[in-house]
């Protein structure tokens, strides 16, 4: 009975746990609940993935109401993979959260943090599981609102303005998605994704559908922080509490990419999106700009959290570049990078949380001498940085490989060269950190720094270790990405 209801439980459990976390006044109890729920979500995601890999897509009718009139939760190769990513990151971050949150957030607000986290987790899992277009909007707003709360809990007062700016831009983006869904409903009369896809096929000449396409493109691009709609991201990641940054950096843009893939590949179909509408060119141009603008700006940052935030903007550019090719290899590269970037950035932000915990700040000055005083943390940052650069034997290399291969397959020489040049920019900003940590002595009168506690180190190394492991043994990730890409490209009416 439980097994049959897993898709619903995936979302409902974190959702119900959220008010519970609020009622548990003590931060440590809320944390325990959040950790438990994250682990349960992980188990559910894993079993869903197993089920999908063995027996194909799972369709679940919420409340017993049959689709396409009822809300359908549909888990197939793509979202099972994304579900796994979100719940893995959630669990690992929760393992580390106790120490870091206790250090950065006042006692009376800690349970609020975990409440918002659980709501965010529920929202992200809901976006991923659902097969109904409007439901996506609902969960999108749930996760966004809780994200605004998470960001605003940061220590610096700029967290408040960052949350506010994110709120404005995020709401506009979500409302654009709502408009797009509304226009689609107007033309097709259904909100179920697969039903919509079937009904849209003959309607592609309609101006309404094209308008819906445009609104959805802008709305999703804003959510996934595609240049130039990325302005909310640097401030939000920089001023949020370290654990919030870690969780958000590794999940929120990934889920937004998933939403974009759903809308443009499953619902609109690859022919309409890329042959009729110029989505490929637009995404390619913006992605390349994102890669270079993001990396260049990152080089000049003094705050390392902001540096990694701009690096994330560049990495989203890589994902979108893969999408813009609209080929099997291109999509594989994009989906692979979804997973790989989650590992890399999650690990890097967790390591950064350790630095923040031990040194009290995250500017380059805080990094001086860390090579000696926090060797394990720095080693994790170096390895994560090498993965960002794309050194072989790391996950970053695997994504880059497929991306360049996809470009070469299409004959896009300049793009291949630009991708590799972008990696070189990453060398510069990673090496800033390396030099500060290993070549410079700590400032006079600075706080005496000790290595981070195990509760922070272990989760960091789990993610960093994963980013090395999956760079060598790519079977799981590549095969998952391949089936996901095939499912996205070969979409039409699904049985």
């Amino acid at each position: 009975m439980i097994a049959a209801n897993l898709p619903a439980l995936q979302v409902v459990i974190p959702l119900l746990a959220a008010p519970l976390a609020l009622m548990l006044r003590r931060g440590s109890l809320s944390h325990l609940l959040a950790l438990l729920v994250s682990v349960v979500s992980l188990l559910i995601s894993y079993s869903l993935l197993q089920a999908v890999l063995t027996s194909g897509p799972i369709s679940y009718a919420m409340g017993g109401w049959e689709p396409p009139w009822g809300i359908e939760y549909r888990v197939d190769a793509i979202n099972a993979f994304v579900l796994l990513i979100v719940s893995v990151i959630g669990t690992v971050v929760m393992l580390a959260a106790r120490t870091s949150v206790a250090a950065e957030i006042q006692e009376k607000k800690q349970s609020l943090f975990y409440t918002a986290y659980l709501l965010c987790l529920a929202g992200l899992l809901g976006i991923t599981t659902t097969g109904d277009a409007f439901n996506v909007f609902v969960f999108l707003e749930i996760s966004s609102l809780s994200t605004y709360i998470l960001v605003s809990l940061g220590r610096d007062r700029r967290a408040l303005t960052a949350a506010f700016q994110y709120l404005i831009m995020g709401t506009i983006g979500a409302t654009f998605i709502l408009i797009g869904v509304g226009l689609l409903y107007m033309t097709t009369g259904t909100l179920n994704m697969l039903d919509m896809a079937a009904r849209l096929a003959p309607l592609t000449d309609s101006r309404t559908v094209q308008a819906a396409f445009a609104f959805l493109a802008v709305g999703t691009s804003l959510k996934l922080a595609l240049f130039p709609l990325h302005l909310w991201l640097p401030n939000a990641y920089t001023y949020a509490p370290s654990m919030a940054s870690a969780f958000l950096a590794a999940t929120s843009t990934k889920v937004a990419v998933y939403v974009m893939l759903r809308f443009f590949f499953t619902i609109f179909g690859v022919e309409f999106s890329f042959d009729v509408m110029p989505l490929g060119i637009i995404f390619m141009a913006l992605a390349l700009l994102a890669i270079f603008a993001g990396s260049l700006v990152a080089i000049f940052q003094d705050n390392v959290k902001r540096l990694l935030a701009y690096s994330s903007i560049a990495q989203v550019g890589y994902m979108m570049l893969g999408v813009s090719f609209a080929t099997q290899t291109g999509l594989v590269a994009a989906i692979l990078h979804l997973f790989n970037h989650a590992m890399m950035k999650g690990g890097l932000f967790l390591a950064l949380a350790a630095v923040c915990y031990s040194t009290g700040g995250t500017s380059i000055a805080n990094f001086r001498g860390l090579g000696k005083t926090m060797p394990w943390t720095m080693m994790a940052i170096v390895l994560g940085g090498l993965s960002l650069i794309g050194v072989p034997l790391t996950v970053g290399f695997v994504s880059k490989w497929y991306l360049v291969l996809a470009a070469l397959e299409q004959g896009y020489w300049p793009v291949a060269v630009l991708v590799l040049l972008g990696s070189l920019l990453a060398v510069i900003y990673i090496w800033k950190l390396v030099e500060a940590a290993y070549f410079q002595a700590p400032d006079e009168g600075a706080v005496v720094v000790k290595e981070a506690p195990l509760s922070l180190l272990l989760p960091t190394w789990i993610l960093i270790g994963a980013s090395i492991y999956f760079g060598i043994d790519t079977n799981l990730t590549v095969s998952a990405a391949e089936s996901a890409a095939a499912a996205l490209l070969g979409t039409g009416v699904q049985p």
Binding site: V138, E141, R157, F164, L167, I172, G182, Y185
Partner: protein, 118 residues
């Protein structure tokens, strides 16, 4: 109904949408931004609701005498969206209260000036 004037509901939607977006972008006062956001969201609500009206349709309450009903689904969707909108507004206003405590102002440029030298 398919004449330009006949599509007056869409014109209203577009007008409200533009007004709302303009206020969000142009006004430095944070509370006014939220008002603008609300107007923007309201335009979308009107879009949905007005598309639900079927020509010659009655209110969607089951009655044997009625043959054509207006579509109740958009209303349901909009109820959800209104709730979302209200939550967003509440959260935004709470943030503004905190911002006012921290900065002593709710004007965007004044806040920006206070942060700039940091």
């Amino acid at each position: 109904m398919s004449t330009t004037l006949g599509l007056y509901n869409y014109w209203i939607v577009i007008f409200l949408m533009m007004v709302g977006l303009y206020i969000v972008i142009a006004h430095p006062n944070l509370i006014k931004k939220i008002v603008g956001l609300n107007i923007f969201q309201t335009s979308v609500f009107i879009l949905y609701i007005s598309m639900g009206k079927v020509k010659g349709g009655a209110a969607p309450i089951l009655d044997d005498a009625v043959t054509v009903y207006s579509n109740p689904l958009p209303h349901v969707l909009i109820l959800t969206a209104i709730v979302v909108g209200v939550s967003t507004t509440a959260l935004a206003l709470a943030l503004i209260v905190r911002i006012n405590e921290a900065y002593g102002s709710v004007e965007e440029d004044e806040i920006h000036d206070q942060d700039a030298p940091l």
